[in-house]
Structure formats: C-alpha cells, structure tokens
C-alpha cells in the first residue's frame, strides 16, 4: 500500500513523515519521529502507556492510525521538560513523591495527569483516581502516583505542599 505523507505538530514543532495507512500513531511517533518516550504496553488500548495529548484530549496512540492525525497538535513526554532540562512540575512531583518505580507507565501517566490538571486544576483524590483510570501501573499500587499528582496540583496552584507530602 502506498505511503502517505503525514504532517502534524509535535511538541510545538511541525513534523512530517511517510506512513502506510495501517501505521499506528504510536509507531509513527516512536519509529518515524524517533520519539521513544511514548511507550507501547498492551497494544490493545487497555494499559494507557501510549497515552499522548492530541488536539486537547488524552488519547491512546496505539488505537489511532498516523494518517488520522494529519494536521493534529500533539504533545508527548519529550515536550514536558523545558529546553534547558528543567523538569515540568508533574515530572518533578513524580520524582519527589516516588510516583514511579520501573517507569514504564510514567510517560502515559504524566501526559494523562497533565491534561487532567488542564481541565481540573483542583482535583479531588477521587477526580485523580477516575482521571487516571485508563492508565495501568503494576509497580506502585497507584498510591504515590495519586500523591504525585496532588503534589503537582498544589505546587502549580501555589498552595502549601506539606499535606500532599505527608
């Protein structure tokens, strides 16, 4: 099948590449754009490791074809830290609160949490747990991921982080 030229904006930069229609977006991101921070876990849209931000919503990039993302605005984990290497607050909070162990689910968790905080800057614990319900973690038991997101929200809101840090 002939390849199609696909153009999209990823982490603020317009990029393009050739893709067969059947090429999944996650494969395009990893193998054509060489952005390997987005992980492939289950490939069946259950685990959320491949979560990216696409046109203002969190999506599982294993269940989307690259050709469907023509013209899309995409953010991946590579677009979270600043150019000088300063971590995004969510990344910093995951680090401080031990929100990761093996790290495999972390890029998807961070991207999902980022969109959640865009939509709801003051989430309750239940909002966070419901919000990350599509992202599986087999290490942490989620407790420290929830704490990390609470910590990031509090910090971004300029609130005290003492409670979240306990």
């Amino acid at each position: 099948m002939a390849k199609i030229n696909v153009t999209m904006t990823v982490n603020g930069e317009e990029v393009s590449g050739l893709a067969e229609p059947r090429t999944l977006l996650v494969h395009f991101i990893r193998e054509t754009l060489n952005l390997t921070g987005t992980h492939i876990g289950c490939e069946t849209s259950h685990c959320g490791a491949c979560t990216i931000d696409l046109d203002g919503v969190s999506v599982k990039s294993c269940t989307r074809f690259a050709v469907q993302a023509e013209g899309a605005q995409i953010r991946t984990i590579e677009g979270m830290a600043e150019a000088n290497g300063t971590l995004h607050q969510l990344q910093e909070s995951f680090r401080q609160m031990h929100g990761l162990q093996c790290g495999y689910c972390t890029p998807g968790m961070i991207l999902r949490a980022w969109r959640l905080l865009q939509e709801n800057p003051h989430p309750s614990e239940d909002d966070i747990r419901q919000g990350i319900a599509g992202n599986l973690c087999r290490c942490t038991g989620y407790q420290n991921i929830v704490k990390a997101i609470q910590h990031a929200a509090a910090t971004l809101n300029g609130e005290t982080i003492a409670e979240a840090a306990q």
Partner: protein, 286 residues
Amino acid sequence: MIPGAFEYLRPKTLSDAIAMLATHGDEARPLAGGHSLIPMMKQRLASPSHLVDLAAIADLAVLREEPDGLVIGAMVTQRALLGSALVQVKAPLLIEAAQQIADPQIRALGTLGGNVANGDPGNDMPAVMMCLDATYMVQGPKGARQIKAREFYRGAYDTALAAGEIVTAIQVPVVAGQGVAYEKLKRKVGDYAVAAAAVALTLRSGEVTSCAIGLTNVAPTPLWAKDAAALLVGTRLEADAVKKAVAAAEAITDPAADGRGPADYRRKMAGIMLARALARAQQRAA
C-alpha cells in the same frame, strides 16, 4: 499487532462517504472513533480493504434539540456528550451511561454512532437507546431512512443496516419528569458489563405511569425488556412488583458463560442491576 493493509479515505461530505462505501462494497468499512474496529483489525478479525474515515464530515457532529427530541450526530464522542449541558438536562441517562464506558482516553475518541451501530452486545448505549425509544437516522446508497433502536439489533454484530448504510444521527425523545438510571456491574475499569440495566419511568402520585427497561450484555443482542416493564405500570414499585418484573427480565436473558461469570450468575446480576436501577429511577422521577 499490525493491522492488514488498507486504503485510507477521508471524505468531507456525507454523500461522498456513502458513494465511497458503495463503490468498495463489503470490503469497505466506515471508521468512527475506531475503538472497536482498530483492535479487531489488529487481531485480523477484520481486514477491510478500504477505511472511510467519517471524522471530517461536519454534519455528523451535530448536537441540538428539535421538536422530536435531541438529535445527536453519530460522530459525537462520549466525552462530548459528557460535556454537553443540553444532554445533561434533557437526556441524563446518556450521561450516566457514558460515564461508565471504558476510560477517559477511550471516551475522548469513542463515538455514540460507533457504539450503537457496531452491534457489539457489550456496548452500553444500545440498551440505553432501546430504553429511551431512540430512533437511528440512517443513510445509504438508496437514500435516508429511520430505524427504531428497538428494531435495530438482530444478533451479535448483526443489525438492521443494509449494505453501504451508516447511522448518521440518533434522535432521543425528551420526556419531562422522567426518572432514569443505568446500573452496570463490571469487573474493572474498561471492561464490558457482566450485566447492566437501563430504566426510564414516569410517576403520578407515586404510581408508575410508564416504564421502559433495556439490558446490556446478557444476550447476543441488547434487550428491550418490554414485558418486565409492562408489569410495573400501575404499581408503586412495591417489593413484590419489582420481584415479578425482575423475574420477567431475567427470563429473557441468554448470557454467555465467559470470563465475566457463568450464565446463571450473569442472569441474576441482570436482575439485581434492574432492581437497583428501578429504585434510583423512582427516586429521581418528578
């Protein structure tokens, strides 16, 4: 898991989409949110030669109130439904069902049209649409027609759609004072229902004046439990009346024995979901 090769088409108008589907026949499939079709393509359970992506067709993304009820375009996502104040007020049962579908990422792309048209008995919206007596607007090579949700489902993945036809919109009647509830038992987030029940009823001085029931994933098709609902009209939902209706609803189920449990268990769970949904709908009815 890589799907088989196909040609990708992205029409801008509904008429172009219908023409493309007609040209390529059985080997072509419409693509909505893709959250049923793409996993099936990865497993090679589906290998369409052409995918006709409906995403660029603006007419399929409408959401408005008309004299006959809400008209919701087939490409409206579950997420968009959840964010609609109009749906919240006029069709709260859709909100309650959409909240229980999959997870945030899947709701961001999964569409109402795909959910109802695919014919998967595990999907939640078909039983909801049967309960609400919704009508599907259908377009195909021979023109437009309407099909009642209650007459749409024939078997697993088998619907009343003819070759080349697609669902373009869903018309949902708006009933003032209706009490509604959707009760779904599932093993975990993202799983299909072990059993689920949708209820819509109206009361006058505590007495049931109308009642409709839909059941999810306890037969090869979603079920409209017409006889069970009829048993409740004229009652005050006393324990005995509910028990009879639950028995009538359980009697029409034909659940598969699978990872979600043995058939008898799922049948009983359908009854329990129904009893819970009736109780909540009763509380909510004006």
